[in-house]
């Protein structure tokens, strides 16, 4: 998946109007709450990426999410 495509999908998963950049701090996204974390976990699962709930607490920026999905984003 291309980076731009992934960012748009992420926006959809988090259910926010805000345009996301890798540098966007997660705390700036109003909709990034406990429900968004559930949606993200489901998204990770669909991508075949194993993640524990605790890892989300350490994420600070959109780039942390991109890094965690690894090979899914290819450019």
């Amino acid at each position: 998946m291309k980076l731009q495509e992934f960012l748009e999908e992420l926006q959809d998963v988090i259910d926010t109007e805000m345009e996301l950049e890798p540098s966007t701090p997660l705390e700036d996204i109003e909709e990034y709450d406990s429900i968004a974390v559930l949606s993200l976990m489901s998204f990770f699962d669909e991508l075949g990426v194993d993640i524990s709930a605790g890892e989300f607490e350490k994420f600070e920026r959109v780039s942390d999410i991109i890094e965690r999905v690894g090979d899914v984003v290819d450019g």
């Binding site: 909709e31 709450d33 406990s34 429900i35 974390v37 559930l38 976990m41 489901s42 699962d45 993640i51 524990s52 709930a53 605790g54 989300f56």
Partner: protein, 360 residues
Amino acid sequence: MAKLSFDDISIKAVVTTAGDKKLKIEDEASKFSYDEKSLKRLKRSMGFESRYVLSDDSVCTSDLCLASAEKIFEGLDIGPESIDALIMVTQTPDYRAPSSAIIMQHRLGLTEDTIAYDINLGCSGFINGLFTAYSMINSGLGRVLLCVGDVASRFAYERDRNLTPLMGDAGSAVLIERGGGSRSYFLLRSDGSGYRHLIIPDGGCRRPFSKESLELRVSQDGSVRRDMDMYMNGAEIFNFTIKVVPTMFDELLEFAGMGKEDMDYFVLHQANRYILRNIAKRLGVSEDRLPMDTVSIYGNQNSASIPGTINAFLSDSYSNSSLRSIFAGFGIGLSWGACIVDTESIFAPGIFHYEKKERE
């Protein structure tokens, strides 16, 4: 490997009695300190709307189950002496000891020949309880009364914004007996490595009740609870659910040699609307065959949520037709299980609400 099948055993009656008092989320919102926007989001995603609890703190799960059982005796015109075993699945027993089921044997007027004991399970309790009942009949008993439920509103602290808005009180009674012809299939699993994700930490032998058990603890998200109350890590439970539940359906269907299209209904533990919608999407099953409104109206009824959904939303279908259903429960333990059963016009009246009777 806990995949098993049974022949010629079937469910004859399902009755649920819920709490008598309706609490609306709008009226409770201030307790959980939700702002207007997050309340709207929680209503839409999680299905927060209302829940039914008991107005009288002295009423227990056993009272709800007894009310349900009496409706079965009346409805099917059977006597208490015909019951060979009473299994009570609950996490809110009358006393820490003895088993509530034994007290219920006496209160219901069952004979001394009755086998009676409790099983400590929640979300997966109906499936495990049903499995126990089927196993007992398979071993030679004729008729088993399975009671399931919790006064769940009482083990969550009133200001726990993750758990309390979901918790409803209900107790069901289910009659299982020999006969009915068809084959039933069960799959049951456990994973104790996740026991911390849904737990009442204090009050057992590991951490006895103490003064500290009453201290208010505020979590990062603003939720307030004490260590004597139920704690839930919602994200971990959700993650567990999406990983194990769809796989469990595939495995059970394969074991039974059936497909999703062979099922009339998928009645799942009603954890919250968000989880159910996610599972339904993964299974590719529409909402008319996979009901998900129970939490929004009654709250999460724990082990009574599957019978509760049948009585509240599918009473006509189960009362008047032959159905093939898949039931599935998943949660505290961690424990999960599913079964495929056929039913033939069973006694399944609409859900009742508790009415206090004068005790003799």
